[in-house]
Every structure is written in C-alpha cells, then in structure tokens.
C-alpha cells in the first residue's frame, strides 16, 4: 500500500456553475491544482476564464458547486485565506495619484506585511523599481505600471497567485522580463499560480499544465507537451485554434 500522503490541493474547483440570468458563464467545471504548480487557463473571449478566476478570488458567488482555496471555501470563508493570496490583472489599476511607495505601503498594510519597508525595498530591487518609488503611478509607462502591479501582487509573498493576462499590452522585452520574474518567484516560493492568458508562448514557457475552456466548459486539460502531441501541432497557438474551431482530438473529459 502506498503511504505517500496526497497533498491537499491549493485550489479545488468542484462542479462550479455560474449563471447570469439566461446566460451560463461556467457550466459545471472541476479541477484541482497541486501546491507549487503553474497552470494555464486558456480559452477564447467568453470562455469563462475570468468568471472562474473571479470566483476563486472570492469576488463572485457561484450559482452552484464549490471552490476552495488553501482549504477555505470561497467566498464564504475568504477572510481565512485572502492574506495568503494575491492577484494581478489589467482590469484593475493602482491609484494613479499615489506614488509607487505609497501604493505599496497601503497594500502592504492591508495584507498585514511584517517589516514593510524592508519588503518594499526588496521588491523595488527585484523588480527594478528603485528609481520609480517616489513617482506617481499615473506618470509611469505601461511597462513600468505592470512592474508595479506585479510588485503589489507579490507584496505579501502569496502562496496562491492569480494572474489574468499579466503581460497584456507589454512589449516583448518587458513581457519576457516579467515572465522571468514570475517564474523565479513561483519556483522560489513554491507558490501555486493560475494564469489566464491569450499569449500561447507565455503559457508554453511558464505552465506545466494547461486547462482549455470553451463556452463555460473544460474541453481539454493536460501538459503542454501532451497537448501538442495529441493535436499533432508544433505550438499551443495551433492547439488553441483547433479547440476554438472544434477541430482535433480533445481528451475524454468529464467537467
């Protein structure tokens, strides 16, 4: 008998359904994410990725099904775990008139970060923000703002990190730099990451597992390598197109 304990999932989604009026945004999906893994959540517009992430963050109540993060049911028990999670998304902004340092201080205090000046100094060094610390966020370039958003998302050393299009609207060099930093953080901290992205090279580089969604359902779920092999494609973009257009061989899945 194998006595190896099965790790408790960092994120557990069980038969999640979210319906708005007559529209089913998520139609009953289930998946578990092991601690310390980076997983991509892919799908076209309206596939249900953002809704799924919003429920995981506790911003949205599911119509049915359960979502647990670090063992706490969301959103009912969210205050047990919110200080251990964080997120980054282009759909929210940092207050523009506050300086980078002021923003990081406010969020650090909200998350109860110990020795906050040292943490801000460390993030400023890691993310090359030292020169920007006393500048208002509104005066920064898009790439600099993204680095500040990443700093905010890491201020509390989160165990669970939700990233919604973390490199959207960045030039390739800055995007690559941000990916590299996130990759180092996640492996160094053994953090669990769920990454929603339309950038397939980003997903191929960062993720060890890819969950494909379409019309509110999971249509495939595997490692990038196995997806490429099964669809007979050379990159995930082609796999994405196959799935979006109903071609190819999705694995038998029960969402």
């Amino acid at each position: 008998m194998d006595a190896t304990p099965v790790p408790v999932p960092a994120i557990s989604v069980d038969r999640l359904v979210k319906i708005y009026g007559q529209t089913t945004a998520v139609g009953g999906i289930s998946f578990d994410l092991r601690p310390g893994t980076i997983t991509g959540l892919l799908g076209g517009n309206g596939a249900g990725k953002s809704t799924t992430i919003a429920v995981i963050m506790g911003l949205l109540t599911p119509t049915s099904g359960t979502v647990r993060v670090l063992g706490a049911e969301m959103p009912r028990q969210r205050y047990q775990v919110l200080h251990r999670m964080n997120f980054e998304s282009p759909y929210v902004d940092m207050p523009m008139r506050l300086t980078v340092r002021q923003n990081l201080r406010v969020f650090g205090e909200l998350y109860g970060v110990a020795d906050l000046p040292a943490r801000i100094a460390q993030l400023a060094a890691d993310l090359e923000l030292r020169e920007l610390l006393d500048r208002p966020v509104g005066k920064l370039s898009a790439g600099q703002k993204t680095r500040v958003s990443v700093a905010k998302s890491l201020i509390n050393n989160p165990e669970v990190l939700l990233l919604d299009e973390p490199t959207a609207s960045l030039d390739p060099d800055t995007a690559d730099w941000v990916r590299g930093h996130l990759e180092r953080y996640c492996h160094g901290r053994n953090a669990t990451v769920l990454l929603a992205s339309h950038n397939m090279s980003e997903v191929e580089r960062l993720c060890e597992r890819v969950i494909m969604m379409k019309k509110g359902l999971i249509v495939d779920d595997d490692t990038p390598q196995r997806l490429l092999a099964r669809y007979g494609r050379e990159d995930l973009e082609e796999v994405f197109l196959d799935i979006a257009r109903g071609r190819g061989k999705a694995r038998e899945l029960v969402s």
């Binding site: 708005y20 953002s50 809704t51 919003a54 963050m57 506790g58 911003l59 949205l60 109540t61 959103p75 205050y79 047990q80 919110l82 200080h83 999670m85 964080n86 997120f87 998304s89 759909y91 929210v92 902004d93 940092m94 207050p95 523009m96 008139r97 506050l98 300086t99 002021q102 201080r105 406010v106 969020f107 205090e109 909200l110 998350y111 109860g112 208002p136 905010k152």
Partner: protein
C-alpha cells in the same frame, strides 16, 4: 482575523495621500461651504436690519447653513472617498484584499470627518470674522448636534456605497443628490410647524429634524433640548443599523451578479 485598526489606518492613509496630492480636491472642501455661509450670512444681515424678530434670533440662518453643511458634507466626504476607488478602478484590489467591509466603512467614516474638518473649521472661523457668529460657542450642544448629524450622514453614505457596489457608477448621482431629498423635510431653515400635518410625521421620522429644531431652541429660546438630541440619537441608531444591513445585502447581491468586477456605468 478580527477587525483590524491597521487596515483601517491603511485605507485612511490611502485617501490622505490622494487628498494632499491634489489642491483642487482640498479647495473644493472649503469653497462651497464658504460660498453658502457668506450668502446666508449676508441675507441674514439684511433681514436683521429690517425685522425685529430676527434681531432676537441672531445666527439662526447662518447656524442652520453651517449645520446643514456638516450633514451634507459629512455624507459627501464618505461617498467621494468611496467613489475615488471606482474612478481609480481600484475596487477590485480593495475587495480582493483582506480588508473587511466593516473596516472599509470605518475608514470612510474617518475620512468624512477629516474632509469635513478641512472644509468646515476655516469656514466657521470666517463666520466669526464676517458676522460675529461663533458656532464653537454652542459648546456641548454643538457636540450633540455634530454627533447626530454625522451619524445620519454616515448611514446615508453607507447606503449609497452599497447602491454603487450593486449598480456601478450609474448610481453616482445618488451620492451627490440623495441628501437634498432631506433638505426640505428635515426643516433646516424653518420650524417643523410650518409643514402640513402629514409632512410633519415624515419630518419627525428624520433624525436631522431634531437637530435643527434643537438649534432653533438654543438660538431663539436659549434652551438646550436634550430630549430632542436623545430622540435623534435613537432614530440614528435605527438608521445606521438599517444602512449597514442594506450595505451587506447589496454587497452580497453584487457578489452574485458580478458587479464588483464591472464598476463602470
């Protein structure tokens, strides 16, 4: 995690950083109360010169306008701080953080007092200089008036914040106009007895009515009506609890409808 003063202070710091970085925001706090005070002060001066009654009732208009501004600007200070999060698209960051709704509300209440102090203290000093009306000389009565007016302004601010969460910036107009619904009903510039009987019932259901009646009793009859203040306090307790319950219900509804993510129009 229990209620955290550190998180409340963090939010107050966030609004303070914003306020001090923007002189138009600070100017706006003083500008309208000053204009109101001067307009009503000069009107009162004119009436005093022409009507014996108002000589006896010195300061009634200017006192009313200053107390009305405490009520109106108290609510506005609460609501504008909340709106700043929506304008800045920062609400997602706030709602995803460990900040609890009660802490958020406490921070907004604190900011409404800070904003009010920035606006009202200079204006009350100007009222002394221009018209010889010293609001501060009301002493303990002023404290009772202030406490009751602030409780009402917070209760309405909390309700408006809930409506903004549930309905997005489409409900923004409420933040600016809600209090004006109360202006004719809570008898700021005239006694309740002026109203038709059926409206008097409504007027007496509103806590600020007791404050403005109490102010007139103090300035005209030189009597402090503690009974009115206690009645106002009782009504305020009910109103504040109702505001908090409405906020909780609207927040829950916003989580169901997904409007926390779509705080635009």
């Amino acid at each position: 995690m229990e209620f955290s003063l550190r998180r409340v202070a963090a939010m107050v710091r966030r609004y303070w950083y914003l306020l001090r970085s923007s002189w138009p925001r600070i100017l706006d706090l003083i500008y309208w109360p000053m204009v109101q005070m001067l307009m009503w002060g000069f009107l009162q001066t004119y009436i005093q010169q022409n009507a014996g009654f108002f000589v006896q009732a010195g300061g009634v208009f200017i006192g009313a306008v200053l107390l009305w501004d405490i009520l109106f600007r108290g609510q506005l200070g609460f609501s504008i701080s909340f709106l700043e999060e929506m304008y800045a698209r920062n609400l997602g960051n706030i709602m995803m953080s460990p900040l609890r709704p009660a802490e958020f509300i406490a921070a907004l209440m604190t900011m409404s007092v800070i904003r009010l102090a920035i606006g009202m203290v200079p204006v009350t000093l100007m009222a002394i200089a221009f018209f010889g009306f010293n609001l501060w000389s009301l002493g303990l009565a002023l404290a009772a008036f202030f406490m009751n007016l602030m409780l009402t302004s917070w209760a309405i601010g909390i309700l408006v914040a809930g409506l903004l969460l549930r309905n997005g910036l489409g409900a923004e107009t409420l933040a600016w106009t809600f209090m004006f619904l109360l202006l004719p009903l809570c008898c700021v510039y005239y006694p309740v007895s002026v109203l038709p009987m059926w409206l008097q019932w409504i007027a007496w259901a509103l806590p600020p009515t007791y404050v403005f009646e109490g102010m007139r009793a103090l300035l005209i009859d030189h009597v402090f009506r503690a009974d009115l203040m206690l009645q106002a306090l009782t009504l305020n307790a009910v109103l504040f609890a109702a505001g908090c319950i409405a906020f909780a219900v609207l927040l829950r509804s916003a989580r169901r409808q997904g409007t926390l993510l779509q705080t635009g129009e």
